[in-house]
């Protein structure tokens, strides 16, 4: 990049390892293993070759079920998050490593220990996507079961985060002198001292991991409720969102960035990164054709029925996917059909949504399957590399986002084409780095040093012995 050129707003790119949902096409001949470590190596190294900011892993702590049975139409099974990231740290050098870790079915001391360890072992590349799934269904795999009422999920998340911050900050970074001559290993006999008391936690002692390169992992947040947005505004470095259109993106962007001032933060302190899918082709028409084919791979007749059941909350296994939508209305009330799925919670008014779907199906003359193809997870960016690069850049330059979490549909090679064709165009435009400038993920993301002390979080008393 020439120095005379005005520095454009820089795009941040993350690579989402294909997940356990129908976006991921496992039936394609190019689809490889979702669990062998080789796939993670290949995927991560592609992302790093393309100078991505970070790799992203989702997590769900119970296999999804529908109609009382394990859901078998999508990819099932994935590795443990923190351990696979630690292994990936061994085959990459600069790529950030972001893991989704739940604040309900974990304890702060252990999670802080693991993230601080990952940050050391990766030389400052760790990130934590804090999620708050709280349901009893997932709780059945854990000591406490479904102990947390829904309305406390963000209280716990906030206190959880505050507790880990107290732990991360309990070492200042200058305690280890390790002077062989004098025999002084530790400059401070109280290093790591912490004491946290809140509604959810009452923990104290000394933290066992000395300060890591980034002090704390980069914090991502992915909840979309009012509380989720507020949590992100107060505490996160980046938001992973589903708001994928220009208009929705701009509205979300303005909303969330507008909340930052209240927490003494500036707009650059919180990055907005929507999930984005893409289909590339030599011509726009070819890309569109491929995109349609991919959508049909993603939504088989069977999958369409399953989606239908998630909104209708009824057993519709006899429904014909090639026929019209069911005549009955969705069953309102407790959701019993599908479990372990975040998407189910998005339908706040199932009857109204069903009405919209019917209107759309009628207007466009769509079968059930075609309708589901239309209303669920359409690809965000379709076209030639040039067109996709233009569109991505427009999003970022017009403040609909600060970048993207790209979700390829093929494991592990689904990022290759993007890396080879779109990234160079973004680099030519001066919108994306050509080399990593820093070594830590915070540096890649243009974030300053880790945020001020955790006791800024209201309602949580955190004390570090040595500082008080």
């Amino acid at each position: 990049m020439t120095t005379t050129q005005k520095q454009k707003k820089q795009i941040h790119l993350a690579a989402h390892f294909p997940g356990v949902n129908n976006t991921t096409v496992w039936s394609d001949p190019a689809a490889g293993s979702h669990i062998d470590f080789e796939s993670f190596v290949r995927f991560a190294q592609t992302a790093e070759r393309a100078k991505f900011d970070f790799l992203f892993l989702a997590e769900g702590l119970r296999l999804r079920e529908q109609n009382g049975q394990i859901y078998d139409l999508d990819v099932v099974g994935r590795p443990d998050t923190l351990t696979v990231l630690a292994a990936i740290a061994g085959v990459t050098e600069r790529l950030g490593l972001a893991g989704t870790i739940n604040s309900t079915f974990n304890e702060p001391y252990e999670i802080a220990r693991q993230f601080a360890s990952l940050d050391h072992l990766s030389d400052g590349r760790a990130a934590w996507n804090v999620v708050t799934s709280w349901d009893e269904f997932t709780g059945e795999n854990f000591r406490r079961g479904g102990f947390l009422p829904k309305e406390k999920r963000y209280l716990r998340a906030k206190e959880f985060l505050a507790a880990t911050w107290a732990l991360f900050d309990s070492w200042r970074g200058d305690e280890i002198v390790a002077d062989k001559e004098s025999g002084v290993f530790l400059a401070d006999p109280d290093a790591g001292r912490f004491d946290v008391t809140s509604d959810q936690f009452d923990i104290h002692g000394r933290f066992s991991v000395p300060r890591s390169p980034q002090t704390r992992p980069v914090i991502l947040q992915a909840g979309d409720s009012e509380e989720g947005r507020e949590f992100a505004a107060s505490s996160a470095d980046a938001i992973f969102t589903r708001h994928g259109t220009l208009d929705a993106g701009r509205a979300f962007y303005a909303d969330v960035k507008g909340r930052l001032a209240r927490y003494g933060r500036s707009p650059a302190d919180l990055l907005i990164l929507p999930a984005a899918t893409f289909v590339l082709g030599d011509t726009d028409a070819e890309a569109q054709e491929k995109a349609d084919a991919v959508r049909h791979q993603q939504v088989s007749g069977q999958t369409a029925i399953k989606f239908l059941e998630q909104l209708w909350n009824r057993d519709l296994s006899d429904h014909d996917p090639d026929g019209p939508l069911p005549a009955v209305d969705p069953l309102v009330g407790e959701h019993t059909i599908a479990r372990g799925r975040a998407s189910v919670r998005m339908y706040t008014d199932p009857v109204a949504t069903a009405r919209q779907w019917r209107e759309l199906a009628e207007a466009k003359q769509l079968s059930t399957r075609e309708l589901i193809i239309e209303v669920t997870g359409r690809q965000s960016f379709i076209g030639t590399a040039a067109k996709v690069a233009d569109a991505l850049d427009e999003f970022v330059q017009t403040d609909a986002s600060d970048g993207f979490v790209l979700v390829p549909h093929i494991t592990p090679g689904g990022l290759d084409e993007f890396a080879d064709t779109v990234v160079p165009l973004l680099q030519e435009r001066g919108s994306f780095r050509t080399e990593y400038e820093g070594t830590t993920l915070r540096e890649h993301l243009g974030l300053g040093d880790a945020r001020p002390p955790a006791d800024a979080i209201p309602g949580v008393d955190t004390v570090r012995g040595a500082q008080t």
């Binding site: 496992w26 039936s27 669990i35 062998d36 470590f37 190596v41 997590e59 702590l61 119970r62 296999l63 394990i70 078998d72 139409l73 099932v76 099974g77 994935r78 590795p79 443990d80 923190l82 351990t83 696979v84 630690a86 292994a87 740290a89 061994g90 085959v91 079915f105 304890e107 001391y109 252990e110 220990r113 693991q114 360890s117 990952l118 050391h120 072992l121 030389d123 059945e140 795999n141 854990f142 079961g145 070492w171 280890i176 390790a178 062989k180 025999g183 290993f185 400059a187 401070d188 109280d190 290093a191 790591g192 923990i203 104290h204 002692g205 066992s208 991991v209 890591s212 088989s300 999958t303």
Partner: protein, 397 residues
């Protein structure tokens, strides 16, 4: 021939700068690098060059302490450490044959998380994972989690006291971890395009474990790991812990004072094994030894004396402390093997020095005596330990 008839199994126990509290002050020590990937990679690769069966990585929930019952405020010893399971994962892709056995604490933590973490280590190492399970009975460690309160910790109580409950919980923990590893049959992933099914759900199993401290439904979110069942190990000093080895482990680490003691301990472990209905299964028992090694015996003695002087007293350990040459250590190893142990887990007094003495001194000596492999004969830890890949408990016969 690369695998002798009755080979000794050799493990090395990695902990900080070594097992002598003053080891970090040795000229070769790298105390400022203890929290770096490079340090652990170097050690693991050195151990692998010596063809060792496996390495273990020590861990505790809380900060190290010179007192086994409570924290201290010493500043003259190594304090701070990284999560052992994550260290093992970090070194997995840069090693190729050595078994990786990090420590995991069963008290306070979730068996569901531990099971998928070790399964993932097994994937990242393509079949070289194990886990050493330990318990934590300390009040101060309970306070780190704040979910349970323990009274003062009395590990030596004659009846086992609170330890019995902790070890029973650990046995439940291992049971859950193991069931979860089996909760996917090997061929559960079918990718059947004709029916649209990715998995055969008949081959995924709820484990429905119910115990005193937890119940777990399953199945795991992680498919069955390459070894089927990664290796489970435990360090045992007394009855309640021998019972855990007998009930739950593939590998026990014990601390005999001499060959006769080794025989007696082994007999106790075998009794527990039989009582658990596992008499027919292979449970390897390795003797732990803290080692200070030099080609010249007096150099080893001087080094040990220098470290003791820095410590201000003679080193005391739960395990036998050996000071001498690799050849003398080979004598001890073979004597203990005669007593029935499968081998030894060596705790280097100082790192990297005593590890290099093991890989470059002891190993060639044992090879000369036809008692140790001259090349890795298997790609998995189970393979190195002569253990077959087990059938899945849930698979229809």
């Amino acid at each position: 021939m690369s695998a002798p008839h009755n080979p000794v199994h050799l493990a090395v126990a990695l902990d900080g700068a070594g097992w002598h509290p003053a080891a970090w002050r040795e000229p070769a020590a790298r105390p400022t690098e203890l929290f770096s990937a490079r340090y652990w990679t170097d050690l693991a690769q050195e151990a692998e060059r010596g063809l060792l069966d496996l390495l273990t990585i020590e861990d505790t929930l809380g900060l190290q302490s010179s007192n086994p019952r409570r924290p201290d405020d010493r500043t003259d010893q190594v304090r701070g450490r990284l999560d052992a399971v994550l260290i093992a994962c970090r070194v997995a892709p840069v090693t190729s044959h050595i078994g990786l056995v990090p420590t995991a604490v069963a008290t306070h933590t979730e068996p569901f998380h531990a099971s998928k973490a070790i399964a993932t280590l097994d994937y990242a190492s393509t079949g070289r994972a194990g886990v050493r399970i330990r318990v934590s009975g300390r009040e101060d460690e309970a306070a780190l989690f704040g979910r349970r309160t323990f009274g003062a910790f009395e590990p030596d109580a004659a009846d086992g006291g609170a330890l019995t409950a902790l070890f029973d919980e650990a046995a439940d923990y291992v049971e859950v971890v193991r069931r979860l590893w089996d909760s996917w049959e090997d061929d559960a992933e079918i990718r059947d395009a004709a029916t649209g099914r990715f998995v055969d759900r008949e081959k995924l199993h709820y484990i429905d474990f119910e115990g005193a401290e937890f119940s777990v439904r399953g199945p795991s979110i992680t498919p069955r790991p390459p070894q089927g069942q990664p290796i489970v190990a435990a360090l045992a000093h007394r009855d309640v812990a021998y019972r855990l080895v007998g009930r739950s482990a593939d590998l026990g680490f014990v601390t005999p004072a001499d060959a006769a003691d080794a025989r007696a301990i082994l007999a106790e472990v075998r009794v527990e094994q039989a009582a658990a209905g596992r008499a027919e299964e292979t449970v390897h028992v390795l003797g732990d030894v803290v080692v200070f090694l030099d080609a010249d015996a007096s150099a080893a003695a001087e080094r040990k004396a220098r470290l003791d002087a820095l410590l201000g007293r003679e080193l005391v350990s739960d395990a036998t402390v050996f000071v001498g040459t690799p050849a003398e250590l080979a004598d001890l190893v073979l004597e203990w093997r005669e007593a029935g142990l499968a081998g030894v887990r060596l705790r280097p007094g100082g790192l990297p020095h005593d590890l290099e003495q093991i890989t470059r001194g002891l190993v060639p000596e044992l090879q000369r005596r036809g008692a140790f492999r001259t090349a890795y004969e298997a790609d998995t830890l189970r393979g190195l330990l002569g253990l077959a890949r087990p059938a899945n408990r849930y698979a229809a016969a």
